[in-house]
Symmetry: C2
Subunit: 290 residues, 2 copies
């Protein structure tokens, strides 16, 4: 047991999965959960997520050694303001947001004396959301990134042990670097998937119906990605705008290059890129990420 | 048994899978295969694909009731020219190309008197290629589109029965409409996946390595798509350029709209689209395509 009590704020896919896995692996004495949404609390209680589902956010965090903010990144600031006065001295606040620079900017000013903020980001998820989407093995074999700069080593070590207990592989990195890596590996792919599915939806109605019927593998994968939680992803793009816009600019240049190659029938340019990208897949399989 | 002899030209993922499935389901008396690549023929023979792997393309098609061209769309014309004089009167030539207008333009002029051309397109595939990538269940539950206009009904019916024997669901449509539907469901998603993986590869080397290590679900899906056969896909874009460029234009407009929304922090615009695309996923699941 690593913590006597942990508090999880936000019982969505991530929060619920942490609660389920931590209980299963006995990583904490008490796992207290809270969600601002009434229905989510009822559902979480029915599903037996964690040890208790608190009716108040302050009761939830009271006496907790670890407080995990598992809410959309746009809601972090507001949640932190609500709990600041009720945190136990010596406790650690963490978060599971997909952007780190913005969360640090929003949360840090409200961290009281004697409490430390240790931002983090699980590289795991599905297109489903809400308490019922949570499952114990979500983090197994997945990376969980930690922004450890300036945080006491013992607090980082405890949290690392907790995350490894959930099955995750941890890695410490810098917030700004994190935001660039996820901009290209996660945020831009989501933005593009949302876009192409939107483009298809806006086609004339007969072709739109056939797009759905005949959706081949490429498009089907995109619709899965584009079914992800809209609030979470709106907040991601609002809060990692700088890195996303940089990567988007590069992507647009590269796409224009291919568009021009298609228009001018320059097959060699297409072949060269397609052969190059094929090797990347091999690297990912070798890195054990698929 | 629907055909006494079928000839499959091109023993790649599609050709090999048809040969394996047709043999397994006993849909033809003899299944003869040919590939211009020496290594592919050796491999196909070792794997026992079809009933025979012919050393000559003309011997392969001789006496066949059905000749299936399963080569990249850029190679269709050349293959058709080679076999035109050796086709049995009354036989049907079909193809499995991902573009239909261009293949009809390339192949039709070489179809001899007494032979009919029945273009088709299986909406199935994986990111693997070559004879060893073939497997019997590739077409099960997948759509196989047929461009039947102007072809004798009995020939269409026989071929339909053959494809259904492979496990596919058939649907007849017009070539131009087909090319627009696949431009958005298959070709554009592939082009975009190739682009974003290429964009990532071109990043500075430290971030590039971490992109591979931390590839989250979105990017991982894209790398799988971007690992598809480079020759096949080069040919697709060279031959469905009109429809792809049209869809790409729409996609670019939609992406610019979102890019602007991110820059100006217009979260509502993002949320509206993200909520709308989520419902499309449900339609696809309901249509049984996932």
């Amino acid at each position: 047991m690593i913590y006597s009590k942990i508090a999880i704020i936000g019982i969505g896919l991530i929060g619920a999965s942490v609660a389920i896995a931590a209980k299963h692996k006995k990583l904490a004495g008490t796992i207290s959960c809270f969600d601002a949404n009434d229905e989510a609390r009822v559902q979480a209680r029915e599903l037996g997520i964690g040890d208790e589902v608190s009716e108040s956010i302050t009761a939830c965090v009271s006496d907790a050694d670890l407080v995990m903010l598992a809410v959309p990144v746009g809601a972090m600031k507001n949640v932190m303001e609500q709990i600041a006065d009720d945190l136990k001295p010596g406790c650690v606040v963490t978060d599971t947001g997909s952007t780190k620079t913005s969360v640090i900017k929003d949360v840090s000013p409200f961290i009281p004396e004697g409490v430390e903020f240790l931002p983090s980001h699980p590289m795991a998820g599905t297109e489903f959301s809400g308490p019922a989407a949570g499952f114990a093995s979500l983090f197994e074999g997945r990376f969980w990134l930690i922004i450890s700069e300036g945080v006491s080593r013992d607090k980082v070590d405890d949290y690392t042990a907790f995350l490894q207990g959930l099955g995750a592989t941890t890695e410490e990195m810098d917030a700004k670097y994190h935001d660039r890596v996820v901009a290209i590996t996660s945020h831009l792919p989501h933005l593009i998937a949302y876009t192409i599915v939107g483009t298809a939806v806006d086609l004339e109605s007969d072709i739109k119906n056939d797009v759905i019927r005949f959706s081949a593998s490429g498009f089907r994968d995109f619709t899965r990605i584009a079914a992800s939680d809209p609030v979470m992803w709106r907040d991601v793009f609002m809060n990692n705008d700088e890195a996303v816009l940089e990567m988007l600019q590069r992507f647009n240049e590269d796409l224009s290059y291919l568009q021009r190659a298609i228009r001018w029938k320059e097959g060699d340019k297409l072949f060269d890129l397609f052969a190059r990208t094929r090797t990347i897949r091999k690297s990912i399989i070798e890195a054990g990420q698929d």
